[in-house]
């Protein structure tokens, strides 16, 4: 019998099916309409995805439900991401959903508003969190599609205005499934890589669906966490994206972002020229002031006073010398004459010389007597001669 040769258990078959299915569909994006939507008390979501031809059981675990920005309902068209899993006890397969996005303007708008409110409440748009954009960035990180218009626009603006900057491009998909994650990863990578002064994150214009990646939470959170200042440049002049609210600066288009991020080099060169001019002017003024001060000091009275004194002094010395020369001979002669005459006067005044010529000095009790009426009869006196003293007594006297 053929039967029995390859008989396996249901468990074994299911195990093989499980392995085969799960390894074939580890991650799929599918589009469909929600039906039989149930939110279990556990918080997990159970629903069916269907289109005209088929249906697919789906579940979303509570931990992932927390990231939903809208309330799924029956009849809502959605795009979901997930993996196929097989549930052996029931023998069915299902989609384990990790992302759920609504399709269509109404739902997208709704999702946008919900996420905006949520992030705003969390403080992701707070002005005080915004980082200043560096005035003169030298290395600009660019997160956009390698094939999109944004790269070309930015390239041409930078080439014209400031080609000395370096641009580091992180090429990402900017629309479709997985774009938001790529953008968020690129923001993280730029931060890890380092040395980037400012980031431009964006893409050229498109429909709301095309721009949707910039409205996703994962992008918003990566932007908020970035240490590098970010300029959002989502090519839609009128509408704001979530990324615009979180970014440190919002540019309406990629070209505008490039204009904002670098200064025109001619302007820059002009500034440098002006600074040089001012610098030279300041130095010249300083030199001028110093020159003025020097000359005012040179001509000042006090500065010239010592010089005058020296001149006067030397003039006087000259004069003195001259008069000295003229009078020297005469001078010595005069001194001699004066000396002789003084000596003679000195001789004449010497008392002992006078006593020799016959004069005498009379003293009464030691005092010199120079008048006759000081002495009365009977007074005793001493008479000093040049060679001795004799005592006398007054006998008589009369005035002359």
């Amino acid at each position: 019998m053929a039967i029995g040769k390859n008989v396996i258990t249901i468990t074994e078959l299911t195990r093989q099916i499980k392995f085969s299915l799960e390894s074939s569909f580890p991650r799929v994006w599918v589009e469909g309409e929600i039906s039989n939507f149930k939110q279990h008390t556990s918080g997990h979501l159970y629903f069916t995805l269907k289109d005209e031809g088929a249906q697919l059981s789906a579940l979303m675990w509570r931990s992932r439900v927390a990231n939903l920005v809208f309330q799924p309902e029956d009849g809502m068209k959605v795009i979901v991401r997930g993996s196929i899993t097989v549930y052996p006890p029931r023998g069915n397969y299902q989609l384990d959903v990790d992302q759920l996005q609504p399709i269509g303007l109404g739902e997208l708008q709704l999702a946008f508003e919900r996420l905006k409110q949520k992030l705003d409440a969390e403080g992701l748009f707070n002005p005080e969190h915004k980082k200043p954009i560096p005035e003169y960035p030298e290395r600009i990180g660019l997160i956009t599609s390698e094939t999109g218009a944004a790269l070309q626009d930015i390239r041409s603006v930078l080439s014209r205005r400031q080609p000395s900057v370096d641009v580091v491009l992180a090429a990402v998909r900017v629309q479709g499934a997985g774009a938001a994650e790529e953008i968020a990863d690129a923001i993280n990578s730029m931060n890890q890589y380092g040395g980037i002064d400012v980031l431009i994150v964006g893409r050229g214009g498109g429909s709301l669906e095309d721009l949707w990646a910039f409205n996703e939470e994962v992008v918003a959170r990566a932007m908020y966490a970035s240490k590098i200042p970010i300029i959002s440049a989502v090519g839609h002049e009128i509408d704001f994206s979530i990324a615009d609210f979180v970014a440190d600066l919002r540019a309406p288009t990629p070209s505008a972002a490039a204009e904002l991020v670098v200064r025109d080099r001619t302007e820059f060169l002009e500034d440098i020229g002006n600074l040089c001019y001012t610098m030279r002017g300041a130095l010249e003024e300083q030199l001028f002031r110093l020159r003025e001060r020097t000359s005012s000091v040179m001509t000042s009275y006090s500065f010239n006073r010592p010089k005058d004194l020296v001149r006067e002094f030397s003039q006087r010395v000259d004069e003195l010398e001259r008069s000295l020369d003229i009078s020297f001979a005469h001078g010595t002669q005069l001194v001699h004459q004066k000396y002789n005459s003084l000596q003679q006067q000195l001789q004449a005044l010497n008392p002992s010389g006078v006593l020799k010529r016959g004069y005498a000095i009379i003293r009464k009790t030691g005092r010199i007597i120079s008048s006759a009426n000081v002495l009365g009869v009977g007074d005793k006196a001493d008479i000093q001669f040049h060679n001795g003293i004799v005592g006398v007594e007054v006998k008589q006297g009369h005035e002359l």
Partner: protein, 79 residues
């Protein structure tokens, strides 16, 4: 003096330094010798800035992250 400091600095800090020098000189309180040195430094910085600004075509490099987490930069010349 900080004459050597700006040698390899960025455009931004060079410009800041230049502005500082101008301010210092405008105050006019710096001794002449120092003022002359500042002026020379300023001229040098402005020349460096200008050379840097005038140099080069725009360079775009592509950043990619390897499996081991290392980053590589490659020239991205295709338009």
């Amino acid at each position: 003096m900080t004459a050597k400091k700006t040698a390899k600095n960025s455009l931004e800090s060079s410009l800041k330094r230049l502005e500082d020098i101008v301010e210092e000189l405008e105050r006019g309180e710096t001794p002449l010798d120092d003022a002359m040195m500042l002026y020379e430094e300023g001229v040098r910085i402005s020349k460096e800035c200008a050379d840097k600004l005038k140099a080069a075509e725009l360079k775009i490099k592509k950043l990619s992250k390897e499996i081991d987490g290392q980053f590589t930069l490659t020239e991205s010349d295709e338009v």
